[in-house]
Symmetry: C2
Subunit: 346 residues, 2 copies
């Protein structure tokens, strides 16, 4: 499409700083004839403190009109745990049916990894985004007493599992190595595990070109550190995906480089792109945050909207920028943004 | 106690081989005046194929009479996923109220780690063993149809959480660094998370000497690879503990060294000790399995039964044995067992 109507949610902590750089790079990479409109939404900790609101209906309706959402980070220690996560971030993911939570991991040259021997890392996790233990279907009884019982229910539907599994097979089939690994814990979570594994096996029959594999989530964490090169595409549930993608980020350049897309592939709702790192309140406002994860999230956003060549240009720019980084020359958030914007300028 | 009546469940795959070495070392380390009786139980994949039984009541009752259980490994690809895990291994952990699943991680000198720079690793995970998503409280509706719904319920009780949290505080208070980290995901799993965090904070007030910390499970995986030295004792739920302890094993010498104890601290039921690695059917019967994790599990068993000096002797023997290992001189399962038995001989 020749115009992008983008919603921007800077959010909390370093969110504002990194989003500014993402927009800078976006403006720089877009060809003249693509009209970019942005509208900022004041959501997050400050808004909650001021008004008690996390995400009012009116804003929800307004957000829905956009082609996509760019989000910085949500969360602040001054807000009780769960309020903004459930009331804002997860609310968006669920209401806009972001059933694909796409999280690529790539160990770029010259970036840090805690792993000895710098293995080849280039995989993508397709994390389910709208089901599992994230549905908020829990409760507690006799809360705060010695007789308290608290539950969390993981909800899994054939509808929800099949669509994410199909999406992952499509992605695997389009990649050179064509390998898809299902990660679950079907030897313990037998009901959900059965649904995931059966669906996976059934859809696999339609993709004979894709090599498939299954790993329990505990075993998967082992391979993430001992043999990450074995992974190409991974499909997994919401919670396992949350855990695995932080580990993936840690081994492939750090959380400062991890991008993500919360995607609604049908296009019925706007998709939302965000760095995996959180609001990092300890370094907020100091110009220390690395905006690269946000810039890479902008690349995912552009790819989602059909601007493949611009997405690729951003990724190439990041790769080149990282290759030239030196430990001694530490740059500010703004300087990194400037450098990337300059590289992608058309 | 001056006599040990031990139940032995070799189980599947490499289970039999490694358990034999564990018993060899146990026999060697025990002083003359401690009488060791062992009784082997034929449980696991072969038994299931032969009789369809996983763990009959009569065997359950017999197992209960022992002072402790040594288990090799359970699981075989020929058995549907979940049958032996739920019907045997988890049945034992739940029926014998093994609410402390103790999993120490230590990076011994001269052992392999995928982490660059060989950080100091010496922590212990206290994994809850009888609640959480492991209770089997799930189900499925319209199974096998496009309208299937499958659930898994995580059950958490004040009773269950408090007892494991207290145990972890006791362990932390007894260690030099006195640090306890709670790992959960209380920003998403708010009901269970609330119970865990509140209990943790309340019990913490009784242990002013213990430094406390809280991490979301996703963030914890990052620190496991970037800063494992920050951990001393970790307390966490059944599923998070499962995932984290495999990752812990991977970074601290590999799954071949990871020991565990399924402990019922009240002594009402026998505790059970097992290597964290599984049955590894691909190398079973070849004398290739490293029995060290089983031998270290025997040390945990001895410590639990009050034989502290023998436990320490085994750990010192393992440490010395590992220090002398060379990549070129690969030993068989039996040879490693012999070497350790010789070292601990009193
Ligand atoms: C902040 C939190 C709700 C979120 C999640 O658990 O999904 C975060 O960890 C992530 O991975 O995007
Ligand atoms: C085999 C399986 C049921 C078990 C678990 O999930 O607890 C194993 O992974 C472990 O960690 O002991």
């Amino acid at each position: 499409s020749r115009s992008i109507n983008l919603a921007v949610i800077p959010g909390d902590g370093i969110g504002r700083e990194v989003v500014a750089q993402g927009l800078k790079v976006l403006n720089s990479v877009l060809p003249q004839d693509v009209k970019l409109e942005t509208k900022e939404y004041d959501l997050g900790a400050r808004r909650w403190h001021r008004t008690g609101e996390t995400l009012p209906d009116a804003e929800m309706a307004a957000l829905r009109q956009h082609n996509a959402i760019l989000l910085g980070a949500i969360g602040d220690p001054s807000v009780p745990s769960g309020v903004l996560e459930r009331g804002l971030l997860l609310k968006l993911r669920f209401a806009f049916d972001h059933y694909i939570n796409l999280r690529p991991s790539k160990l770029f040259p010259n970036t840090s990894t805690p792993l000895a021997g710098r293995p080849e890392i280039d995989f993508v996790v397709v994390r389910e985004g709208t089901e599992g233990p994230y549905t908020g279907n829990g409760g507690s009884l006799r809360t705060g007493t010695p007789a308290e019982v608290a539950t969390e229910v993981s909800l899994n539907t054939a509808y929800g599992v099949e669509r994410v599994v199909r999406d992952a097979f499509e992605r695997a089939a389009a990649r050179p190595r064509k390998k898809l690994t299902l990660v679950h814990k079907n030897n313990v979570l037998v009901y959900a595990g059965h649904l995931w594994k059966n669906t996976f096996d059934r859809v696999a029959a339609e993709y004979p070109s894709v090599t498939t594999d299954y790993l329990h989530v505990d075993a998967a964490t082992i391979f993430f550190v001992t043999q990450p090169e074995r992974f190409d595409v991974i499909v997994t549930d919401n919670l396992f995906g949350d855990i695995l993608t932080d580990l993936a980020a840690a081994v492939s350049g750090g959380i400062g480089l991890a991008a993500s897309g919360n995607i609604n592939p049908t296009g019925e709702f706007p998709s939302m792109f965000e760095p995996v790192h959180g609001s990092a309140p300890d370094i907020a406002g100091q110009g220390k945050a690395d905006p690269t994860a946000t810039v890479l999230s902008v690349a995912l956003l552009l790819r989602h909207l059909g601007h493949e060549s611009e997405a690729a240009r951003i990724e190439a720019a990041v790769s080149a920028d990282l290759a030239e980084r030196t430990a001694s020359a530490v740059r500010t958030t703004d300087e990194i943004g400037d450098a990337l914007a300059a590289r992608v300028a058309g």
